[in-house]
Assembly symmetry: C2
Homo-oligomer: 150 residues x 2
């Protein structure tokens, strides 16, 4: 764990809160390079009619645009929940260096829970992963969301 990881995860939680307020599953993400926030994203797949509009994908696309590159070497992504197969796959293609996530996702997580895409030997890029940072806060916001939906 790095010294600013908790700070950046708190920022990702603020993004998740925005998703909550717009009635989307509250997941937030941000991409950091050299200690600076490059992009932020929060889940908006239902409202934007876009299956792919997960927090991570939005943050990746914005970061690519900003850095004018389809690769994000040297970047870390902070995300409030374990990335799914789609997002983990995108992070591999983006050549992100590190993934720091909050809550584990036993139903769809692809950083060890259901799949382990980010450390598959056959792929030509591996990503350092740190899971469980501010796990309780990150899990709570999602639980609260689904409770509010019942």
């Amino acid at each position: 764990m790095n010294k600013n990881d908790a700070f950046f995860m708190q920022e990702a939680l603020k993004c998740a809160q925005k998703a909550f307020l717009s009635q989307e599953v509250p997941v937030g993400a941000l991409i950091v390079k050299d200690g600076k926030i490059i992009s932020k994203g929060y889940n908006k797949s239902v409202k934007s009619s876009d299956t792919t509009a997960h927090a991570e994908i939005i943050a990746i696309r914005k970061a690519c645009k900003k850095l004018k590159n389809y690769r994000l070497n040297g970047c870390t992504i902070y995300v409030t929940i374990e990335p799914c197969a789609m997002c983990a796959g995108a992070l591999i293609w983006a050549r992100v260096n590190r993934i720091v996530f909050g809550a584990y996702d036993a139903k769809a997580g692809a950083c060890g829970s259901v799949f382990n895409i980010v450390s598959e030997k056959k792929l030509n890029h591996k990503i350092e992963v740190y899971g469980g940072l501010l796990e309780e806060e990150c899990a709570t916001i999602i639980k609260e969301f689904f409770k509010s939906k019942r």
Copy 2:
């Protein structure tokens, strides 16, 4: 295999040809519902500075916009190469019914070659997959592309 599968894969190959002409790895995809083409896409990740701009993701996003829905129930995707983890994951979230692909991808394929995301029991959607349709044509265009790059 359905009776129009080869026709639609030929259309996907035309999309791949467009990627080739713009110097991107030549992969093409299209989404079909009730026998009609809903959307098309071809790989443009490098030129558009967007890691996620694979043929399938572009076709999914366009189809979502057209159908005004983040789900694509009842749709089939035709793609010239076996979808990767990112694209297979997106197809699961989109609730696509069927994937028909051309060439197998031993390096990154996620419909059986490296991962088998589309038939993982823990996920709450499974997709019917047919691989190897017009396999030679779909593989050849990619081989020709990389040959031209050397």
